[in-house]
Symmetry: none
C-alpha cells in the first residue's frame, strides 16, 4: 500500500466487497485525502472540493460521511496521531532503559514523518483549527510520555523530579520534537530529514537534563 499513488490509494474503495467495507474505505479515503490536502495547503485553504477530488468521490458524498467540513477537520489529527503513536510504539518495542527507549522513540517519530510529512503542519495548525482534536492528541501523547518518565524514575534512571515537574518536562520534549520537525522540513513541505547533529544534540541535552550524565560513547 505504501507505494500506491495517492489517488490510487484514495480510490481503492472501488474494489471493496461488502457494503460496510466500502463505506469504511470511503471514509478512510476522505481522511487520507484530507491529510494530504491539509498538509499541502493548510486547514484554512483545504476546501471540500479539493478533498473530494483527491479522494475520487463526488462532492456531495462528503456529507454522507461527515456532518460538516469542521467535523472532518476535527477527526484529522486524532486519526493521524494514533497512527503516529502506533508506529512509534512498534518501533520502540524491545528497547530497554530510558536512554535506549527515548532515543528509539525520538528516531521513530522522525521515521514516521518520512511516510507522513504532512504531520507537523497538521499538528501545528490543529491547535487553531481543530482545538478539540489538538487537546485530545496532546493529552494522549503527554500521558504516555509522563508514564514513561515515571517508570524510568522508579527505576532510578533519572534525577529527582516531582510528578508535576515531569509533566512540564514532557511538554518541553514534545515541543522540541514539534519544532525540530518543522525546522528540518524541506522547503516544499514534502519531506523531513533530521541531521545527525540535531539528533545528537537532542539526546545530549535530554540526557544531561534528565539523567545527569552525558551520553555514553557508542
Amino acid at each position: 500500500m505504501k507505494h500506491m499513488t495517492n489517488v490510487a490509494r484514495a480510490a481503492s474503495w472501488k474494489t471493496a466487497s461488502s457494503r460496510s467495507e466500502r463505506s469504511e474505505r470511503i471514509r478512510s479515503a476522505l481522511l487520507s485525502a484530507a491529510a494530504e490536502v491539509v498538509g499541502e495547503v493548510g486547514y484554512a485553504e483545504a476546501s471540500v472540493t479539493m478533498i473530494t477530488q483527491r479522494a475520487g468521490v463526488g462532492q456531495g458524498t462528503f456529507y454522507n460521511y461527515f456532518k460538516s467540513r469542521q467535523d472532518l477537520l476535527d477527526s484529522l489529527l486524532p486519526d493521524l496521531g494514533e497512527q503516529m503513536l502506533d508506529y512509534v510504539r512498534d518501533e520502540a518495542v524491545g528497547g530497554s532503559g530510558f536512554r535506549d527507549l527515548e532515543e528509539k522513540s525520538f528516531r521513530a517519530f522522525f521515521g514516521f514523518l518520512k511516510s507522513t510529512p504532512q504531520f507537523p503542519r497538521i499538528l501545528n495548525e490543529a491547535e487553531s483549527f481543530a482545538p478539540a482534536g489538538f487537546q485530545k492528541h496532546l493529552d494522549n501523547v503527554s500521558k504516555r510520555y509522563i508514564r514513561f518518565l515515571q517508570r524510568s524514575m522508579k527505576n532510578g534512571e533519572l534525577q529527582d523530579y516531582s510528578e508535576g515537574e515531569l509533566e512540564v518536562v514532557a511538554y518541553m520534549l514534545m515541543a522540541a520534537r514539534s519544532y525540530l520537525s518543522q525546522r528540518y522540513m524541506s522547503p516544499d513541505g514534502r519531506s523531513v530529514e533530521l541531521p545527525r547533529l540535531a539528533a545528537d544534540a537532542y539526546m545530549k541535552f535530554v540526557l544531561y537534563g534528565l539523567v545527569g550524565r552525558p551520553p555514553e560513547e557508542k
Copy 2:
C-alpha cells in the same frame, strides 16, 4: 493607557493633533486591532471588516495603510516580535551569569504575555499564514539566543556543546517557551499564568541540561 479598553485605545487617534501624528496613530491602531482579532479568532478568520471595526475606522481606511490584508498580516509578527524582544531585553538588563539571565528572560517572556496574550497564537499561526514574517522572527530570536549561549559557554558556564549543537538547543528552548505559553493559556485565550512549578521545572531541566548542576537553592 494600559487599562483603557481595547476599543478606546484603538480610537485614541481621534484626539491626535498633527496630521502625521494622526496617521501614525491610525496605523498603530490597525496593528493593535489586528493583533487582538488574530489573537481571538486566528489569521484565517481575521477579516478586514473585523479589524477596522475594532480599530474604529472605516473599511476603506484600511487600504490607505496597507496594500492588502496579507500585507498587514505579514507585518503583524515582526511588529509584535520586536516589542517582545525589547521588553525582554529591558527586563533582563543587569542580570549576570547564565543562570540569572536565562531565568530573568524566561520570566520576562511570560511577563510580556500578560499584556499581549495573543502572542502565542499569532506566533504559532504565523508559520502558515505569514511565513516570511515568521522566519524573520525566528531568525531574530534564535540569533540572539545562540549568541547568549555562546557567550555563556566562553565564560565556562556551560557543558561542552558545539556551535551547531547550541543552535539545536536554542530551538528546543524557544519551542519550550512557545509550548508552555500555550499550555498555560487560559481557556478564553485572554491571559497566560505560568505556575511556579512550571518555571521551576523549566529552570531545573535547563540547568541540568546545560550547566550540569541542579539549580542552587535560593
Copy 3:
C-alpha cells in the same frame, strides 16, 4: 415565446426535463439576460448580480457556467453575432444578383434588430470590453461580405475594384450599418426603426458607388 416577458423567458429552465437540458437552458438564460442587461446599461455597468437576477438564478450559479464575468462578456458578441448572421442568411436566401442580395441582407439586418435591439450597443462596446470577441465577429462578417463582393465582381456586376479595395469597402458598409442602426435607435434603446428614406439612400449610394448605375425603379 417571442412575447413572454424577459424574466419569464429567462426562467423557463424551471420547466426543463432532463438534467443536461436544464443546464443548457440556464446557460442560455444567462446569455440572454446578459444581452438584455448589456444592451440597457452597457458592458461596464452590467454586474453579475443584475444578470443573474434577470435570468432568475442565484448569484453563485453564474460561476457554474462562466469562469468569470469577463468570460461571459467575451462570449456575448460571438453568440449574438452568429444569431445575426444566421438570421440574415436565412432571409437573403433565394435572392439573385448583387442589388437584390445586398438589399435583402441590409433589410434583414434591421429585421434582426427588431428582436435584438441591444445588438448595436453590444457591438459598439465590445470593441473596448471584449476585444477578442469583437475581432472574431468583425472577421466573420467582413470575410463573408468580401466573398460576396468578389462573387458579384466576377459576375461583372460591379465597377473595377481591387481585392484590397473591396476589403476597405466592406468595412465602410459594415460601418454604415452600425452607425445607421444607432442613428435610428429609439431613445429608450428598445427598438430600431429604419425609415424607408434611409434604406433608399443607402441603396442609392451603394449602387452608384459599386455598380455605377442608379437603382432601377421598382
Copy 4:
C-alpha cells in the same frame, strides 16, 4: 506646445500668472489628462485618481473644477471634437470643388489623429459613457457635412440626392471615417496610419457614389 511631454503640458499651470489664468490652465490640464487616460484605458477604467495624477494636481482639486467624474467625461468629447473640427477646417481651407475638399478633409481627419490618437476610442465609447456629449458632437459634425454636401449639390457636382438622403449619406461617411480609424489603429492604440490603398478606396467609392464618376488620374 505640441512637443512638450504630456506631464509637462499638464503641469504647465504652475507657471501661470493671473489667478483666473491659472484656473483656466488647471481645468485644461485636467481635460488633457483625461483625454490621454481615457484614450489609454477607456472611460470605464479612467479613475479620478489617474486623471489627477496625470494632470499633476491633488485628488481633491478635481472637484473644484468639475461637479463629478461624469461631468468631466461629458465635457471630453465636445472639447476634443471642436479641436478636431478646427484642425480639419484649417487644413481644408483653400480647397475647391467637392472632390478636392472631401479628400483634403478626409486626409486632415487622419492628420489630426496623429496628434490625438485617443480620439477614435473616445468617440466610440462616448456613445455609451457620455451620450449627451456624443449626440452634440455628431450633430455638430453632421450639420457641417450636410451643408458641405448641399453646397456641392447646388454647384451641380453631385448626383441627384434629396436633402434627407444627404443626411443619411453624411452619416455613412462619418461612420466610414470612424471605422477606418479604428481599423488602422496600431495595436498599442498610440498611432493611426491609414494606408494609401484605404484612402484611395474611400475616395473611389465616394466619388462613384456621389459624383457618379471615377476619380480622375492625378
